[in-house]
């Protein structure tokens, strides 16, 4: 115990913790920069640092970047990372209603709780959870992806047909590229398309560009000097008002109590998603959002500004962080892309994952894990301190927001892979996203389908390769698969049965 605390409380570690948390918030808050990118850029710095500080710094960047994405998602309707896409839906609605600070507070609370719960799980029951994770393979992933796609119905608001069309569009986009060798589908001979449409530029395009254009709609055509003057005054007022954002940040106990079950449920699901290699924060947030909606008594609020929705998605995506580190540290199998970078940095330090980490190097490992939990708490505090300024940013006049969001979107899309093509992708999706918005097609199903469609296809093909004989027999002889199949059928049939029952009465 003493060794752990002394490792953790050394100056280098504390500095790394603070720097990592702050850096992660910035990286996560900017659209286009993700946790994985931030962590990998820090790896060269870790070459010269001791193991515990460098791993704590990387872990801090990971969890605070996932949390930081919620800032831009809530305030300017642009998810800072793919893991915050679900938060953007309800979060921005709340900002429009003037409750931006409150939304940030709930998001912070949920993220911190989700992260701490996953950190505790990592500390206490990692080996047991890993055994469960190994039972999941391609067939299960396929069914999880299909189940995830059934969430589309819930995201479509009132018009299910339009939601399905959006999701269908997302599925088609997901088919571009070389998912299945050796056919480069829909690539039209373009080398960039052969690699597929990248998720992050598409997401930035679908969320932030329509946002910019919607803000532009509010421009008033000046007809005479009188009107011009009025506009100038109102803009000055807006700027002045921006400095006086009202509202409270931390949720009051009365507000928090109904949210706690949602948060805990989403956290546990998030840990589950994190443990599965190949499912990361982006899927965790949708699973959390969906579980919040399922258990909610105010379902009609979802999509119009539901605090429960934000709580669910943020708890889910932060719980994935700890969850993803579980198989990474115990088996060397990263549970997400960022966890893979974490593992890589650990390898560079000279440590490989496995039982050694928890026996021979237990002190070091536990220091890192406690540091991870500390980072989750620290990011909540930093978020609270930064929230006042962040919220003022969202209240600025449109004339300032528009160029800022535009330039961040453009450079954010470019900086991911240093590829100008990604900016074109963003532009394309921006135009389509605006048209979708005008005609009331929801954008969330498209993002969901873009994530889950390729996952479903890849895993179906792999499961066909894995089965020795009949694919149907294979699926039906795997208990987890059967469970998911029943779940999917029940999910799809439940509303039918409910309606029939209501009509029969």
């Amino acid at each position: 115990m003493q060794a752990i605390m002394s490792d953790l409380l050394s100056l280098q570690t504390l500095l790394a913790l603070v720097a990592g948390t702050f850096g992660g918030l910035v990286v996560g808050g900017l659209p286009g920069l993700s946790a994985t990118m931030g962590m990998s850029l820090l790896i060269p710095i870790t070459y010269t640092m001791d193991t515990v500080p460098s791993m704590v710094m990387l872990a801090a960047v990971y969890c605070s970047a996932v949390y930081g994405g919620s800032f831009s998602a809530i305030l300017i309707h642009t998810p800072g990372t793919p893991a915050s896409a679900a938060t953007a839906i309800d979060g921005y609605q709340l900002t429009k209603q003037g409750k931006g600070l409150q939304a940030l507070g709930v998001s912070t609370t949920a993220s911190v709780i989700g992260g701490v719960v996953s950190g505790v799980a990592l500390l206490l029951i990692a080996p047991q959870l890993v055994k469960v994770a190994l039972m999941f393979s391609a067939p299960e992933y396929f069914l999880i992806a299909v189940f995830g796609l059934t969430i589309v119905g819930g995201l479509s608001g009132n018009n299910l047909l339009k939601g399905l069309v959006s999701a269908g569009f997302g599925l088609i986009i997901g088919m571009v590229g070389m998912n299945i060798f050796p056919y480069a589908r829909y690539s039209f001979g373009n080398l960039n398309l052969q690699g597929g449409i990248q998720l992050v530029p598409a997401m930035i395009g679908l969320f932030s560009l329509p946002q910019v254009l919607t803000l532009a709609e509010s421009r008033v055509n000046k007809k005479n000097r009188e009107e011009q003057k009025k506009i100038q005054e109102s803009i000055q007022e807006q700027i002045a008002r921006a400095g006086k954002m009202k509202g409270h940040f931390w949720p009051t106990p009365a507000e928090l109590k109904p949210l706690l079950p949602t948060i805990l449920k989403a956290s546990i699901l998030g840990i589950g998603v994190g443990i599965l290699p190949g499912a990361g924060g982006d899927i965790g947030s949708w699973v959390g959002y969906n579980s919040a909606k399922n258990g909610s008594k105010n379902k009609e609020l979802f999509g119009k500004g539901s605090l429960e929705g934000i709580a669910g998605s943020e708890a889910g995506n932060n719980a994935v962080c700890g969850g993803a580190l579980i198989p990474a540290l115990t088996l060397g199998i990263p549970g997400s892309g960022a966890a893979a970078v974490f593992l890589g940095a650990l390898t560079v330090q000279g440590f490989s994952s496995g039982t050694n980490l928890f026996s021979k190097y237990a002190d070091m490992t536990y220091s890192i894990l406690v540091g991870f939990i500390a980072a989750n708490i620290l990011m909540g505090i930093m978020g609270w301190l930064l929230s006042r300024y962040a919220v003022r940013f969202a209240a600025l006049p449109n004339g300032i927001l528009i160029p800022v969001i535009t330039s961040l979107s453009v450079i954010g899309s470019y900086a991911i892979r240093n590829n100008v093509f990604d900016v074109y992708v963003m532009l394309f999706f921006g135009v389509i996203g605006y048209c979708m918005k005008k005609f009331d097609f929801p954008a969330a199903p498209t993002v969901l389908a873009l994530i889950l469609g390729p996952m479903a296809e890849r895993n179906l093909i792999t499961s066909i390769q894995m089965c020795k004989g009949s694919i149907l027999v294979y699926y039906f002889t795997r208990p987890i698969c059967v469970f998911f199949m029943i779940l999917i059928v029940v999910t799809l049939l439940a509303p039918v049965i409910q309606k029939r029952r209501r009509e029969a009465v």
């Binding site: 900017l30 299910l160 532009l427 605006y434 509303p495």
Partner: protein, 102 residues
């Protein structure tokens, strides 16, 4: 788990469409103009240079949206460009495409 009645493709709200007659042309002018600027920005920064294009587009957009105060415009431009430069070029060392200008 009510997902809405998925087998009934038409929702109650579709009748609303006829009531929402918008003055289409007027409403679309500013977004389309903004879109044109954004397209110029996204296509042009590779050739002209990122920071110069950002500067020009930012100024034009602010003017277009009605901001006239010199102080505001200078502040926004300086803060934005400094932030982008400091983060992307200096800290992250992202190699910007080499355009004619900076």
């Amino acid at each position: 788990m009510p997902w809405g009645c998925w087998w009934e493709p038409y929702s109650a709200k579709s009748g609303d469409k006829h009531r929402r007659q918008r003055p289409w042309r007027e409403k679309l002018e500013s977004p389309l103009a903004t879109l044109a600027l954004v397209v110029v920005y996204a296509l042009g920064f590779k050739y002209i240079g990122f920071y110069v294009t950002t500067f020009v587009v930012t100024v034009v957009l602010m003017l277009y949206m009605g901001i006239r105060s010199m102080k505001t415009m200078i502040l926004v431009v300086v803060v934005l460009l400094a932030f982008l430069y400091g983060l992307f070029t200096m800290q992250l060392k992202v190699p910007m495409p080499q355009g004619i200008l900076f």
